[in-house]
Symmetry: C2
Subunit: 264 residues, 2 copies
Amino acid sequence: MSIYDSNSYFSCMISVSIIGAGNVATHLYKVFKKSEQVSVVQWYSRDLNKIKSYKNAVAITDQLSELELADIYIIAVSDDAIASVSEQLPFKDRLVVHTSGSVSIYDLDKKNKRGVFYPLQTFSKEAKVDFKKVPICIETIGKKNLPLLQSLAEAIGSKVYKVNPDQRKALHLAAVFVNNFTNQLYRIAHEITESEGVEFDILKPLILETANKVQHLSPYLAQTGPAKRNDKKTIKRHLKQLESEHHKAVYTLLTESIKKTHGR
Amino acid sequence: MSIYDSNSYFSCMISVSIIGAGNVATHLYKVFKKSEQVSVVQWYSRDLNKIKSYKNAVAITDQLSELELADIYIIAVSDDAIASVSEQLPFKDRLVVHTSGSVSIYDLDKKNKRGVFYPLQTFSKEAKVDFKKVPICIETIGKKNLPLLQSLAEAIGSKVYKVNPDQRKALHLAAVFVNNFTNQLYRIAHEITESEGVEFDILKPLILETANKVQHLSPYLAQTGPAKRNDKKTIKRHLKQLESEHHKAVYTLLTESIKKTHGR
Ligand SMILES: NC(=O)c1ccc[n+]([C@@H]2O[C@H](COP(=O)([O-])OP(=O)(O)OC[C@H]3O[C@@H](n4cnc5c(N)ncnc54)[C@H](OP(=O)(O)O)[C@@H]3O)[C@@H](O)[C@H]2O)c1
Ligand SMILES: NC(=O)c1ccc[n+]([C@@H]2O[C@H](COP(=O)([O-])OP(=O)(O)OC[C@H]3O[C@@H](n4cnc5c(N)ncnc54)[C@H](OP(=O)(O)O)[C@@H]3O)[C@@H](O)[C@H]2O)c1
């Protein structure tokens, strides 16, 4: 092996233990396993059945008291359980992070060094995740542990962003708009096409192109359509065409919103 | 040349003339030029300057009266001008189509055979267009001219959908939701992140993934987040966090919309 092997630039692998067995925990486990710069020491789940299929590849446990030494402990459990799980950890002065966009770093028990390792993406167990496309927002108390979290994110190919608590909250809220609310607009479009018996499929390329466009153009510049042009005739016709009061309300409010943005 | 050459399946190239020099006209011109199954007879623009750079590749004109014989005349001008341009055409009984999602087929002058060739995508002059990703919705009066319009769409690699007037209107309206309104949600997200000095860039992978997800999953099944879970604590916190009354109104309405869809 040449001494220029990429591993030789690292003094050691980053050892992590994962706590939780949900979407985020599972995807992190898989990507850490693939990285030559990360070793997974242990994986904890309160229900061993959830992770027993991995038992030949990693040490698994259902006892927090059995957790061994690691550089970083990653608590990837439901938001509501983060505080209580962190309290139950049987050690102190180690680096413990959660993965939530909305839970405060101070919800972690202060007996340990605290951090946040928030992957800004939407995860579901079935879908594959390419961590190169997952920005990771990191937060610590003081600067000391930032480099380690940064190296961990980089080890899985992610872009890293250092954020403060207000910034992380803003990102999490903005994510609700671009993910949950956008998806609901897709749903309304589905209802509209379905009511005339047309395939929702026809809209799929437009959905993709709309998302693609703002990858290199600001949403302000990317805007088009009747609301931006303040094309009153078309807006009136659309409102007449919509059958559901609730679709009308969404149409009206977002049309007003666009007009406001574009000074109409 | 082998007799199995793909062109040999066609008895002739489809000849088209393009009327208009905007976004749609320009992209159609370019893709027709590339197709071996389409020949562009003439390109009309009321302002010759707009198309004079193409004059060595195609016959250009600024006089409707100079339009020569073609299989299909494509009127790709602003919605409001379609009726009057179609009236001014100096011939009859030929196939004339417009490219609009919202203008009625009956707005075309009845001296000619009428049709619609509506590309359901968002076009801007700068951005490249891959017509394989542009569904084309076609409409005619009677069935006779459908096959020709269908062949034209297929000649540029597009998927073709035969629609009726109500279906085209529904698609056009649904497109406002998935394009204009979705883009406005991106804009609001931009405002939220900007107010905390965080880069909008961090949201871009999530924007793409949200659009990707509904390519193979219905928007109903793809939904996640506080509104779907009816997580009152988070919703309340988000509303408190939003500074603009107008952002609050959008948050509230779309949260209600999601709850309604998911029976909360
Ligand atoms: N999903 C996303 O798209 C996403 C994106 C970014 C960040 N996050 C954050 O990542 C964290 C995990 O989310 P997720 O989507 O992976 O959640 P999830 O799929 O619902 O999984 C939650 C996990 O937490 C465990 N758990 C819940 N309460 C527990 C307790 N009291 N003690 C021990 N374990 C407990 C669950 O165990 P059981 O299986 O036994 O119930 C499950 O393994 C959350 O903080 C979330 O905000 C999620
Ligand atoms: N853009 C899209 O994303 C899109 C998508 C699907 C369908 N469409 C439909 O396609 C059609 C064209 O849209 P577009 O986006 O290409 O529009 P555009 O870029 O605004 O171009 C409009 C064209 O129409 C010409 N025009 C306007 N009034 C005219 C008149 N009275 N006589 C002759 N020419 C006239 C304009 O000429 P000047 O340049 O001289 O003003 C210009 O060349 C519309 O029906 C639209 O609804 C558009």
